[in-house]
């Protein structure tokens, strides 16, 4: 790499690290680090401490799951990825490096090297989370993880460069990249078709308690076995159970990673213009709005979507913040993603119906397909939908100048994202309930399940979003503000860590409401001389929710005071 770029890389990393260390002078950060170190240290060294992912790398099913996750992550980069390069340059890099006498390959190499910082941190997180899942020493596992994450990063960059080239050159671009585009399209269609056709059989096997075997059999059947082979190759070192196997597996995995490097660094895709445009937009967003603009927002003038609901001139001012945030979210949505999802759902539905031939079975599969994104929205939704303080905190000056109490602003910001998430979950719930009405073998009684979900979903969202917004307020130096969550496969460790910590805190916050709900349900059952059933929990859910919202009221009042005292110097725009 060019000496100047190496210097820039090294100095930036060093100064960044110094900044992070200096932050530990604040007791709040120091305490959080100590608590984290204590927990993760225990996770790593105490064999009795339960780890959510430990052991997942020692089973065939675990191997299949990891392989599938990697396949879908990479495939989604091709199908749903942006037409802009995954190489993100800051405005300063664009202004200083692009006019400099540097080759395109040098710029790409610089970015690839820069991403290694995040990759290495992710490796560290994964090593801790996977802990003693196998017989390998931790450094061998770390090397395996480094190869997996680096390859995935390189592939994402390569894919985005192909997409950029194709998008910027129209049909000529598509012709130039015909080989990778054809391969990926063929693979996606084959996998999609095979999986859809297998859904009824796999579902029956899962219900019969033989899901693992059915999935393994599906993955080892052709053509999936051939398609998944490179992914299997990549993941194999992580699952090796001896030195010998590891050495045998690491070489092909390394070769796979090495093959990606020239593909990416010798790209002829003219990414500069798209990258410079993106950097300028990002810089303007930071300078002018200090970060409300999401990475996804590609809004052309004149294509402004109308607000979902009108804003009356008078009424509670907090509603204005909710209105603004809902508008921001809906305007940043990409229609293309929805179209692809709806089309995919239609194709899957038709294919499954042609396989099973009866409506009840189709409805039953549909329920499962609604339940999966519903659960994902509950767990991952607060990380993806961020139109709250995590966006607006960069505009602290403006928020503070409004004639509202700090707690009112915090509550309105949290309510915005909670409303969006709840609306999406209710939609999936309604769809699942509609399908369940056709399912003669529905596993849970429909009416009480829906009634409980109607109460529980907004409560869960409010709790997890309070945790997320509280983290942003208390640790603005750690939480990425403004431009969405930390993107990219290389940052997977960071995102997993954030989700993990958030889940722990959410679980703690849920303890008291859960206890209250169980007590109420037991009381109701005893009073009605009935066994404890779903209807007792229908009666108990509002009580539990009330306790949860009581907790949140106290926390939000406290966060409001933190909001009023937050030091502007701690808020940094995204790099």
């Amino acid at each position: 790499m060019n000496d100047a770029l190496r210097y820039l890389l090294w100095r930036s990393a060093r100064n960044r690290l110094r900044g992070q260390v200096a932050r530990l002078k604040r007791p709040r950060y120091l305490l959080a680090v100590l608590a984290g170190a204590l927990y993760f240290g225990a996770l790593l060294f105490n064999s009795r401490m339960p780890s959510p992912l430990a052991g997942s790398t020692s089973t065939a099913l675990g191997q299949l799951i990891y392989t599938t996750i990697i396949f879908f992550t990479i495939a989604s980069g091709w199908v749903l990825g942006s037409d802009r390069p995954a190489l993100v340059f800051s405005e300063a890099e664009v202004q200083l490096l692009f006019p400099a006498p540097l080759t395109r390959a040098a710029l790409v190499r610089y970015k690839v090297a820069q991403a290694q910082m995040v990759v290495l941190f992710s490796v560290l997180v994964w090593v801790v989370l996977l802990r003693r899942g196998g017989t390998l020493p931790f450094w061998m596992r770390a090397i395996s993880l480094w190869i997996i994450l680096s390859t995935m990063y390189l592939h994402r960059v390569g894919a985005s460069l192909v997409r950029t080239s194709a998008a910027s050159h129209g049909s000529r671009g598509v012709r130039r990249n015909l080989i990778p585009i054809t391969i990926v399209a063929t693979v996606v269609v084959i996998v999609g078709w095979t999986v859809v056709r297998a859904i009824p059989g796999v579902r029956s096997a899962i219900l019969a308690g033989e899901g693992g075997a059915a999935l393994a059999s599906l993955a080892s059947s052709q053509p999936l076995a051939t398609i998944l082979f490179p992914f299997h190759l990549l993941i194999a070192p992580l699952f090796a159970d001896s030195w010998k196997h590891w050495l045998f597996a690491i070489l092909p995995a390394f070769a796979l990673m090495a093959a990606h490097y020239p593909w990416v660094t010798h790209t002829d895709a003219a990414f500069e213009e798209a990258v410079a445009e993106a950097a300028a937009k990002r810089a303007r967003a930071i300078a002018d709005t200090r970060g409300t603009r999401g990475r996804r927002a590609l809004i052309a003038d004149g294509a402004v979507r109308r607000p979902w609901f009108p804003l009356e001139p008078t009424g509670h001012p907090g509603i204005a913040i909710l209105w603004k945030n809902v508008l921001a979210y809906t305007r940043a949505l990409r229609l293309r993603t929805f179209v692809i999802m709806v089309c995919a759902a239609g194709v899957v539905g038709s294919a499954v119906y042609s396989e099973v031939g009866n409506m009840s079975e189709l409805a039953s599969i549909g329920e499962t397909l609604c339940a999966i994104p519903l659960v994902m929205l509950i767990v991952l939704g607060p990380g993806f939908v961020r139109t709250d303080l995590r966006q607006d905190l960069l505009q602290l000056d403006q928020l503070r100048s409004y004639p509202l109490r700090g707690s009112a602003i915090v509550a309105a910001e949290i309510a915005s994202t909670a409303a969006i998430l709840t609306a999406m979950q209710y939609l999936l719930l309604a769809l699942a309930a509609f399908l369940a009405s056709f399912d003669v073998r529905a596993p849970v009684p429909l009416a009480p399940a829906v009634l409980i979900a109607l109460v529980v979903l907004p409560t869960l969202n409010a709790i997890s979003l309070t945790v997320a917004n509280g983290s942003a307020l208390l640790f603005p130096g750690w939480v990425r503000l403004g431009d969405g969550r930390t993107a990219g496969i290389e940052a997977m460790g960071q995102n997993v860590l954030a989700i993990f910590v958030s889940l722990i805190v959410t679980f703690v916050a849920l303890l008291l409401p859960l206890i209250v709900a169980v007590l109420i349900a037991s009381g109701v059952s005893a009073a009605a001389s009935r066994t404890l059933d779903a209807w007792a929990f229908v009666a108990a859910a509002p009580g539990g929710a009330l306790v949860a919202f009581g907790e949140l009221w106290l926390v939000i009042r406290w966060l409001g005071r933190v909001f009023a005292r937050t030091d502007l110097a701690q808020i940094e725009p995204p790099a």
Binding site: T289, P313, T314, L327, Q395, S401, Y402, P403
Partner: protein
């Protein structure tokens, strides 16, 4: 209307503002001038209730900004040097949003004249991404003026405006002052300060080094009589530097 008493703001060992006291009456325009890092923006942010002073009090109207921040903020508008806009709201939606925040019941009727005044009428449906730097500045100012604030705090209000925009902005500020608003204006453009401000507050390293009308300031320094404001300003700063140096060596 604005009453600042003993305002001090420190960051660790660094004193950004030290013991600042001044008042701004309705209809008055106070010019806040000083070199970079003098504490002008910190002063404006403290008055706006954005940052909490280390000591001292700030009153806007009858309200203490620390004790009744919502009531005090409802009376004022702070327009920062970098316009802060919401990327997903159009020009008109920004004004509707602000109208609701400040409870301006006749906001819809006020929006159009304001857009005309700021020459943004044909951009009412545009998102900030489609606006030039100057237009965004005008929109930020329009947001500040919508609720007819009684105290107007402007940090470098002419940044990014073209000559015609600057002239219009100056007349807008003057008109608001004539209508009874107390205006505090921070700027490096001394001709703007000379033209618009009724009084001047010269700051250096967080301290007041001169306060009064230009005539009053010059009256205390007869050697500066008849000199341009720029010369007066530079002489005051130089003197301040000398005094600071003498204090440090003592």
């Amino acid at each position: 209307m604005i009453d600042v008493e003993g305002l001090t703001k420190t960051y660790g060992d660094f004193e950004a503002v030290r013991g600042l006291s001044f008042t701004v009456a309705p209809g008055e325009v106070l010019g806040l001038v000083g070199p970079n890092g003098a504490g002008k923006t910190t002063t404006l942010r403290s008055i706006a209730g954005i940052i909490v002073p280390t000591s001292g009090t700030v009153h806007v109207g009858d309200y203490d900004v620390a004790k009744a921040p919502e009531r005090a903020k409802a009376l004022l508008a702070f327009i920062p040097d970098e316009p802060q806009l919401f990327e997903h709201l159009t020009v008109e939606e920004h004004l509707r949003f602000i109208g609701r925040l400040y409870g301006v019941s006749d906001a819809p009727a006020r929006i159009e004249p304001l857009l005309v005044e700021m020459e943004l009428l044909d951009k009412r449906g545009s998102l900030p991404v489609a606006l030039s730097r100057g237009m965004r500045q005008k929109l930020a100012i329009a947001c500040g003026l919508l609720h007819s604030p009684m105290a107007l705090l402007l940090d470098e209000p002419l940044t990014g405006l073209d000559p015609a925009g600057m002239r219009r902005m100056k007349s807008t500020i003057a008109a608001r002052a004539r209508a009874g608003a107390a205006v505090v204006l921070s700027s490096h453009l001394l001709h703007l300060v000379e033209e618009l401000c009724t009084r001047l507050l010269v700051m250096q390293r967080g301290r007041v080094i001169a306060l009064g009308t230009i005539a009053e300031i010059v009256a205390e320094r007869p050697d500066l009589a008849g000199r341009a404001l720029e010369d007066v300003f530079l002489a005051l700063i130089e003197e301040g530097e000398r005094n600071d140096g003498a204090r440090a060596s003592a």
